[in-house]
Amino acid sequence: MTPMFQCEDAAEYVSALADGETIPSAFAQHIGSCAACQARLHDYLAMGVELRLVASVDADDTLPALSIDRRRTSRSLWKKGLETMRIPKFAFALLIVAVVVLASSLTIVKVGAHSSGSVLMLNVTAPGDTHFKCAIDTRLTPGQCIVIGSVERTMSGFQFTVLARDDDRVQLGVRTKVAMAPSTGTSSMGSADVKDQPQTRYWFEPGQTLKIDVDSLGSLTVAGKWMDHVPTMVNENQLDPNENELRIVSPLLLRDKQVVGDMEGGTAVAPGNSNVAMIYLPGTGRFLLSNTPMQHATQANVKLNRISFDVNGAHYLFLMGAPVTRSDKIWVLYQPDFIPRSGGEGGFIGSGELRQIAPEAVLPANH
């Protein structure tokens, strides 16, 4: 027995039928025997034909030129103008390391058949068998990275910038700064110090090696490869922190549940108990984080990727992109008045020996 339908009941299926969809048998039977539904179907089909006719006329125009200018503006990975830094693994004690300064636009480059990505991963060997990695996202302008660290007995900074790309080859702009590290007291070098140096240009093709002579230091050997993303470089990508290691990955800071700092992409590793990690946020100050007690520091609770602590009546919470340490307690020294030597316009993340970064925070030996 065929169910009784009003045309309104079947109308939606008429529409589906006009789209070439199959419909329930009962509705199909009604539509097949109902003049009003068939008239509706006819109208729907005619409307489609008319619309396609209009579209055909309309699509026959001369197109305006596309103005992409062959330059691509990318979303900034850095919030509030913070200058973020990424720290690869070093085979030596870090003082300060800053890598990957990302900017807000990029240059369109030709991509060759052999390229399989837009990120150039440089593996650099410095004197003293010092190794570091440096990832450059060539979709950004400038696509560059900055590494600052201790090499032999110097504080050295290197900036690599992709100036141009031709197939797999890139033209690298390299700036270097070498300063003798003092045996005692504080020492620091910021990205601005490196950026001020003259730039030397080299053509470099991943798969080959490039030798760069650096005055007062020796030779850098640069190797590299193309990658399809900027990897998170935290001690060979192991998620679990090593013993006595403290890791800072993409920290987001909340004060009384309000976000006061976002250093997305910034990474630092403080290996061993003599090293501390530091996070500087313009307008907020510097935080030193240590696995061991520091003078005037506050004990903080750690749960995987979260660090919570209270200072001056305010509750602070660091959210990280990866587990922080193996311990459930660390110490945080908040220095709201700290201004870096570079002036403090950009935020940074780093790590280094506490006695060099903040000797005043080292506990007396008898403590």
């Binding site: 006329v57 992409i68 369109i108 991509v111």
Partner: protein, 175 residues
């Protein structure tokens, strides 16, 4: 000729030539879509430029598993147009060149009726009838369930039919 994945690989890698070629292939129909969606040729051209610029800047948004490149393109354009409509103040007069050229050239009563539909209905009908997107693609473009696509298409068709019939009473009565 590239398939979607290969083409997108090229574009994502910053191949401006591939992107420009894709623009040449897709822009005429996108422009027509935007013209009828906004009722304004200048607005359509602006939105078209914004759509391609958006894609050029953020190529990571395309997911081949969710639909075709064309469907994604029209989905972004639709959102741009929706945002454009949202910014039109209620007191603003409607654009006075509501696809005037197309209407004049086809002398189509239906085109005129179509341009009196709400923008969402216009977008949906155009994407289905002219661009031929499947229900699944429309669901992805509009971010709604497939069942909603069917009911919205029906409602849009009914609205168009109403306007069409009222503009051309000689076409006959309705059920």
């Amino acid at each position: 000729m590239f398939d979607d994945r290969e083409l997108w690989k090229q574009i994502s890698a910053g191949n401006a030539d591939a992107f420009t070629a894709w623009y040449g292939d897709t822009a005429p129909r996108l422009r027509a879509f935007l013209r009828h969606l906004t009722g304004s040729e200048p607005a359509a051209d602006d939105l078209m430029q914004e759509t391609y610029t958006h894609i050029w800047r953020r190529p990571e948004g395309f997911e081949a598993d969710r639909g075709t490149l064309r469907a994604w393109l029209f989905g972004i354009a639709r959102k741009q147009a929706a945002e454009w409509w949202r910014k039109q103040r209620p007191s603003d007069p409607l654009p006075d060149d509501r696809s005037a050229r197309a209407v004049a050239e086809t002398n189509s009563i239906l085109a005129d009726a179509f341009n009196h539909l709400p923008p969402d209905d216009r977008a949906l009908l155009w994407l289905r009838e002219v661009e031929g997107h499947s229900y699944a693609e429309l669901a992805a473009i509009l971010d709604v369930p497939i069942g909603t696509v069917r009911s919205r298409l029906f409602a849009a068709r009914e609205s168009l039919r109403d306007v069409w019939h009222s503009a051309a009473p000689a076409k006959g009565g309705r059920s």
